[in-house]
């Protein structure tokens, strides 16, 4: 068993503040003097029984109500993430071609808390998305303008824009709980400890043990999902078939920020301003050197002559 996170003494707790930010959307931040320990949530897909206790706990803790929807013929309910369902269990029925066995793959979908978050990179609103030095990527709704740029930036298709208030929503990794020393609500609620939470190092160690166990039981491709393309993530998965993450409801094999987004948020910004500036400067210089193009007295009299000869 992974030792559960004890409930801390709330009197001593402090909230994350500006001093803990390592990234802030559309802004520069000073390197924090003291960094928090990187934290991570580990989701062991091989242990998950699909009870959705985490999903309910998330709704409860965040005081969200998912409106009654439609059954799409699967156990996915709701079928996908929504502004009110920050995490959703994705059920995949997969026939293992080697063993011919039906395997039920259940992945808890939600924000991965990327070390290099595409959502934050794309966001144009200062401070609408922040990243704490412990790795948690959080949305600050007061600053969100509802543009949906984060949706385009995210390699995991996570943020959802609410129709009610036009703001972006996603899993916060329970930053409000973590900041006072508690674990995420979903991890606390998980009856099988398929979700555990701790420092990233602890979680990797824990995953190692789990992977050894899975390998010993015949899952030779068991492994940890901590994709380097986004600098690693602060939500990691133990997968029994880590060689093919796609079979887990389309978990990307090699996620990274789309090159289109990199161009848009990188070179395009500077080149765009530079080109516009260059045109304006050309105008000013041209006028300074060449002077205005004025109509002369001769032009006026030529026009007069032309009209008069025609009458």
């Amino acid at each position: 068993m992974f030792p559960p996170i004890p409930n801390p003494d709330l009197k001593a707790a402090t909230k994350f503040g500006e001093k803990d930010l390592i990234r802030r959307s559309a802004s520069r931040v000073a390197e924090p003097a003291q960094k928090l320990t990187p934290m991570a949530k580990l989701i062991d897909v091989s242990k998950c029984i699909g009870c959705k206790a985490c999903q309910s706990a998330c709704l409860e803790w965040n005081d969200l109500r998912e409106p009654v929807g439609f059954n799409d013929g699967t156990y996915n309910n709701p079928p996908d993430l929504t502004p009110t369902s920050l995490t959703v269990m994705k059920f995949t029925e997969w026939v293992n071609p080697e063993t011919r066995n039906l395997e039920w793959l259940i992945r808890k979908d939600g924000c991965m808390h990327c070390a290099d978050p595409g959502c934050l990179k794309a966001c144009p609103a200062p401070g609408a998305i922040v990243q704490y030095s412990n790795g948690i990527v959080d949305f600050v709704h007061e600053n969100c303008i509802g543009c949906g740029y984060c949706v385009k930036g995210c390699p995991f298709n996570i943020p959802r824009i609410s129709k009610a208030d036009s703001k972006a929503y996603k899993c916060t990794l329970c930053s409000d709980r973590v900041s006072v020393g508690q674990g995420p609500a979903c991890a606390k609620a998980c009856p099988t400890q398929a979700i555990v939470f701790g420092t990233k190092d602890e979680m990797k160690q824990w995953a190692d043990g789990r992977i050894k166990d899975l390998k010993s039981r015949g899952y030779k491709n068991a492994g940890l999902y901590d994709p380097p393309g986004v600098g690693g993530t602060h939500v990691m998965y133990v997968l029994h078939h880590a060689d093919q993450p796609e079979i887990y409801a389309g978990l990307p094999r090699d996620p990274r920020i789309s090159p289109l987004v990199e161009i848009w948020k990188g070179v395009a910004k500077y080149a765009g301003l530079a080109v516009m500036g260059a045109f304006a400067v050309f105008g000013v210089l041209h006028h300074a050197v060449m002077g205005p193009n004025r109509v002369t007295r001769e032009d006026e009299s030529a026009a007069k002559q032309l009209t008069e000869t025609q009458s």
Partner: protein, 234 residues
Amino acid sequence: MSADEMRADEAKPGESVHRGDPVVVDRYTAGARINHWITAACLILLAISGMALFHPSLFGLTALFGGGQATRAIHPWIGVVLFFSFSGLFLRFWRLNLWKGADTTWLARLNKVLGNRDHEDPDLVEIGKYNAGQKMVFWGMTLLILTLIGSGLVIWDEYFASYTTITQKRLAVLLHAGAAVAIICIWIVHVYAAIWVRGTISAMTKGQVTGGWAWRHHRKWLRELVTGGPRPAE
């Protein structure tokens, strides 16, 4: 018809020559001018609100529109107004902006034009209602506005989020930004040309220019107005 008006205005409203000193030439109808200024206002508002979301250092411009949320909400609607307003201009002017052989000549001698020496070159003197530079502004704007409205609809998440994939939206957002930069550059050229070539702005404020201006910059057009020449097919 009054004696000091030439007969050409029968063929085309808003284009007639008034004799006098100086000669005054009607260039744009009131309708065309209103249409132009609505388009201009939209373009400027779009540029400001768009740039606010384009570069973080310009985000402060959202204050002019009542904050970030309001800017995000209003920008696409201004785009819709611009689209219809520009469509009006397009219908008014597209025929006169068709490319002619003489336009290629004009373009090849752009250095003379920019050097204020076009009046020394007989090939550059006989210009119709629009020169090649103006035509390029017109077609550039047309093409870019189509690009902007098309890509803009793709990223107008409030109404159209579910119609396209995220990859399509990423492409659209990049295209939108590129086209916006290009159209702002064209706009700078357009405004600068109007300032540099003195006597131009009155065409869009009063609808009229002096005969001398028409003689100097659009002599073929002036001749045709005076003689009631082959218009509007040019």
